[in-house]
């Protein structure tokens, strides 16, 4: 039972170039724990020292921002896509 995490190009150096990573289903928090185990630097980008998502990265399950769902407790089910959306400023 896995869900898919989409890695933006700006963070792919932290996932050995992978654009998608499979994670176990359950909750967003446990999925990020799994990611952090495999890619520690990616984990640091997503969560602050307080363990909360950083304010310059948004995390979406399907189309919705987890801040407006249940945060890290948001359910992540089979086949769902978790999108990491970092703030980018280039123009």
């Amino acid at each position: 039972m896995t869900a898919t995490v989409r890695i933006p190009t700006s963070l792919r150096t932290l996932t050995d170039g992978s654009s998608e990573v499979e994670v176990p289903t359950g909750q967003v928090g446990t999925a990020i724990e799994d990611l952090t185990t495999r890619y520690p630097e990616l984990g640091e980008r997503l969560l602050g020292e307080d363990g909360k998502p950083r304010r310059f990265v948004n995390i979406f399950v399907a189309e919705d921002d987890i801040r407006f769902l249940d945060g890290l407790d948001t359910a992540l089910t089979e086949g769902q896509v978790l999108t990491i959306l970092p703030a980018v400023a280039g123009g």
Partner: protein, 391 residues
Amino acid sequence: MTLTYQDLVNQAKQQIREVDPARLEPRLEDVTILDIREADEFDHGAISGAHLVPRGVLESVVGLFATDLDQEVVLYCAVGARSALAAQTLQQMGYSNVASLRGGFNRWKDEGLPWHPPDSLTAEQRARYSRHTLLPEVGEAGQVKLLESRVLLVGAGGLGSPAALYLAAAGVGTLGIIDFDVVDASNLQRQILHNVDRIGQPKVESARETLTALNPDVKVVTYNERLSADNVLDIFAEYDVIVDGGDNFPTRYLVNDASLHLRKPVVHGSVFRFEGQVTVFDPYEGPCYRCQFAEPPPPELAPSCAEAGVLGVLTGIIGSIQAIETVKILLDIGDGLAGRLLTYDGLAQEFRTLRVMRDPQCPACADEDHPPQLVEYDVTCAHQGSVARVA
């Protein structure tokens, strides 16, 4: 048997329905009104909301304005003769609910019913914008609206270039451009406003030359300066829509916070390497930039395009989407991107739409009565985006 013009008109009037001006006037909003006179007649005044569809092209383009054969269509000309013949033709084409305005526009005016003064499109403009005015959602009235509109482009770079070119081509009457940079050879891989001859020239001057050559209708207002807390409100106040094509976080936050003060919509685009994001921030109606990203990343986690690169074509795609969103806002048509973030991945060739919501705890827009204090541009990074409110 041969028939005179009058015979033809009389015969047509017996076969079609005529509607009196006073009966049509209260229902203008519910009916598709086609003015079948020639453009020079239309220029002297027309019924509000009517589409100019000269008799000579009526049959070929009526389907653009009346997509449903059952929808109610009223045609008018000067006195109701040409429109009677035209209504007869539309009936033959299958339009079942078509009528001709009895007495035409002359009787309409004689009865003191409202009409609007001539549109300001010149013959040259009518030719230039004909592919726009053919669109019922734009029409002559929409084109006039674009010509009267004022849009500010923050940045004359990768995103600002295509956005400015398309907005100028579209006939947006006033384009303001703020950028303090000069054209560099490394810009030309994506910044299509500029060219080799302009290297070293201020970007805003180069932009003015390019845009004026493309469309002399457009007045280009240049600001060869850095956007700052000191000038942002005065500059933004002059415009209807702000197109944010900046290249750094401090500018993005300044644009956002100033737009909240003035309640100006911001069409936001940003790019990084192969990926772009576009959305619209509609102050207090939808989320703002700080609802989405309350704080900028620390500088060490925010490499710029100069450091990380960007595929040139990507800025063309994202900047063009910003242009289309801007035109939609100006014309008040379609579904805008407020509340939605469109992401584009050039490598995967995928567009995705994410829902973005207004944050009730947003440090900038949660309290409508107290917009955020403008953070001084050059030191925003040091403040890490913390927001103070105007008392």
